[in-house]
Amino acid sequence: MTAVAVRPPWHPSQLLVGNASLVWLVPGLAAVAVLFVWPITNLLLVSLDGAVGTKSPYLAVLTEPIYLRVISNTAVSSLGTTIVCLLVGYPTAYAIHVLPPPWRLVVLLSVLFSYAVGTMPRAFSWIVLLGDRGLVNQALMSAFDLREPVQMLYNQAGVIIGMTHVMLPFMVLTLLGAMARVPDRLVPAARTMGAGPLRAFALVFLPLTMPGILAGMMMTFIYSLGFYVVPAVLGGAGQTTTVMILRDLTVGQGRWGIGAALSITMIVICILGAAVYVSLARIGEIEEH
């Protein structure tokens, strides 16, 4: 006698098991296709199609000094923001990590509280603080008896200060996550083996948070490449970023071909940044396994 397979009537719960559950990917994939793949493809087509005369817009982006300067400006500001975020964020995250739980929550919330204010008002508030007659300059001038105010606005320093302000919570949260994954006993174990607090930190704790450092840096860098408001408010004429020039090229002048080519170039830079992160992270992984 052969067993007769029992085939239950169809029921929606079957969509929760096996290959049928892949159906839940459809809305997400559709959104990505419509909102991301299609526009990017379009962008790519426009950039390839938008030749000015016989000159490819890519050639213009990669040879004309204005675009190179804007790209390098954007990259330097982003890199500076990334480094300052790490230098300020790591000690902050470490302090939060070692605080007793109730205080940890209070400090963490105060870090996140800055998100209650939008990027625009935050950028403008830096003008109040950093301007020639601002709070910081008045304090510096009276403290060090300076005749001239220190220029902190409308230059790269101002842009980096403003962008760091926006990106710092991201960095702190990423680092905190990495610190939470460090097993509790490793630092005490290092102490029992003769390591003082500093060496236990540098030789045991810090290397274990390296994945978080890399992830935080990558995220800060890539996100910073796309800033518009902060450099527009706090940067000078020399701090034009790619996003600002893109807006000018496309909305202002209608030069869609070169705008598209510049956009694609920035996407490639982002992908390169991500690739560096992935390869570094993978080296770390191989070391672990």
Binding site: P183, R185, L186, P188, A189, A190, R191, T192, M193, G194, A195, G196, R199, L203, V204, P207, L208, E287, E288, H289
Partner: protein, 386 residues
């Protein structure tokens, strides 16, 4: 591992090795908020001695070890290591080796770098470091694993790395925090022997935390039994097992039948108690009752299951007997565990039969249970409410 000299006690074979340092803990207390994790613990571990801190979780044994290691600060009391006051010394200046429960190996470093870490912290480098690493690697069979990362090792291998790392700089005191709890049974038995052999070979002082009474019994020179943040008793495994001073110790170390008895008569040479078997006389060495407990006082008789004998032969040889009905049989190969209930008193007895030739009893069968009064210990009855 096969070490020359399985002589009990210390057998230092290498004269260059350290010989252990005493650990003296006095009136040590630790409060976490208002919770008293450790209440005025006093314990003196002699040079080269193997002492286990045995207790259930929350008994304060790990707290005491952390205080000795300097991983926690004592609320009051003092710790002396090798005769030096270490109460407020940071961990790194106590010169202890420590093996953590989850091994706490550094995941980013190779096995070799892990073992080298304590040497590096002491400025021992180059050939000196190499030869020390080679020595412990040989001792713990780690030579083929030196280049690996901890995540590439099995649990047992990680454990040996943790031990190697703790002893590589020849500490005089080795602290072990439940080092076997993450291993499977066979490996546990093997590692027990290895730790014991290591102790005999290196002669260092060992403080060993465990919740497993068989580990404590097998390895220790002395056991400190802990409960609710207190050291309840400290003695050799033999003394604690054969002559427990309280029903808590009797039940915590090994299996025990605890049967209510009443004192009929008490004298300098011992006492007579009324028990399941009628009147029994107990030698003074086996009486742990309060000195004030005289006639009429209630106590508990401690009877190990292996000291109860099933009497197959019909006629008694003078030893007291009682009739009981078998309610459970657990066959273990080398022994059979019976649980039997006495009809009259409704008391339940656990018996261990190890004689292979003896006849087996089935559920519901009656048996005669014989007792040897020489093995009975009388301890105070539990107070109401405890």
């Amino acid at each position: 591992m096969s070490f020359a000299g399985s002589v009990p006690g210390r057998a230092v074979t290498d004269p260059t090795l350290s010989c252990g340092a005493p650990v003296e803990v006095s009136e040590l207390r630790k409060l976490y908020g208002s919770v008293e994790a450790l209440q005025a613990a006093t314990l003196s571990v002699r040079q080269g001695e193997f002492v286990s801190l045995l207790g259930a979780s929350g008994s304060g044994k790990s707290t005491l070890l952390k205080l000795i290691a300097g991983l926690e600060r004592a609320t009051s009391g003092s710790i002396r290591l090798g005769g030096i006051d270490a109460t407020s010394l940071p961990s790194e200046r106590r010169g202890i080796g420590m093996v953590f429960q989850d091994y706490a190996l550094f995941p980013t470093m190779t096995v070799e770098a892990n073992i080298a870490f304590p040497l590096r912290m002491r400025g021992v480098r180059g050939d000196e470091a190499k030869s020390r690493i080679a020595r412990v690697a040989e001792m713990l069979r780690l030579e083929p694993l030196l280049a690996r990362k901890p995540s590439q090792l099995s649990g047992g291998q990680q454990q040996r790395v943790a031990i190697a790392r703790a002893i590589v700089f020849d500490p005089q005191i080795l602290l072990l925090d439940e080092p076997l709890s993450a291993l499977d049974k066979n490996l546990r038995e093997q590692t027990k022997g290895e730790i014991k052999a290591l102790h005999q070979r290196l002669g260092l002082t060992i403080v060993y935390v465990t919740h497993d009474q068989s580990e404590a019994l097998a390895m220790s020179d002395r056991i400190a039994v802990m409960d609710h943040g207190r050291i309840v008793d400290v003695d050799t495994p033999q003394a604690l097992y054969a002559r427990p001073r309280s029903s808590f110790i009797a039940q915590f170390l090994g299996q025990a039948n605890l049967l209510p008895v009443t004192v009929l008569d008490r004298s300098a040479t011992g006492c007579t108690v009324e028990s399941l078997w009628g009147a029994l006389s107990i030698g003074a060495a086996n009486v742990a009752l309060e000195p004030s407990a005289g006639r009429g006082a209630r106590g508990l008789a401690v009877l190990r299951p292996e000291h109860l004998r099933i009497a197959d032969e019909p006629a008694g040889d003078g030893r007291p007997r009682v009739r009981a009905t078998v309610v459970q049989v657990l066959y273990h190969g080398c022994e059979t565990l019976y649980r039997a209930t006495c009809e009259a008193s409704q008391l339940s007895l656990a018996l261990k039969e190890t004689r292979p030739a003896s006849r087996s009893y089935a559920l519901g069968e009656d048996m005669q249970v014989e007792v040897d009064p020489a093995h009975i210990v009388v301890v105070p009855a539990l107070q109401d409410g405890t």
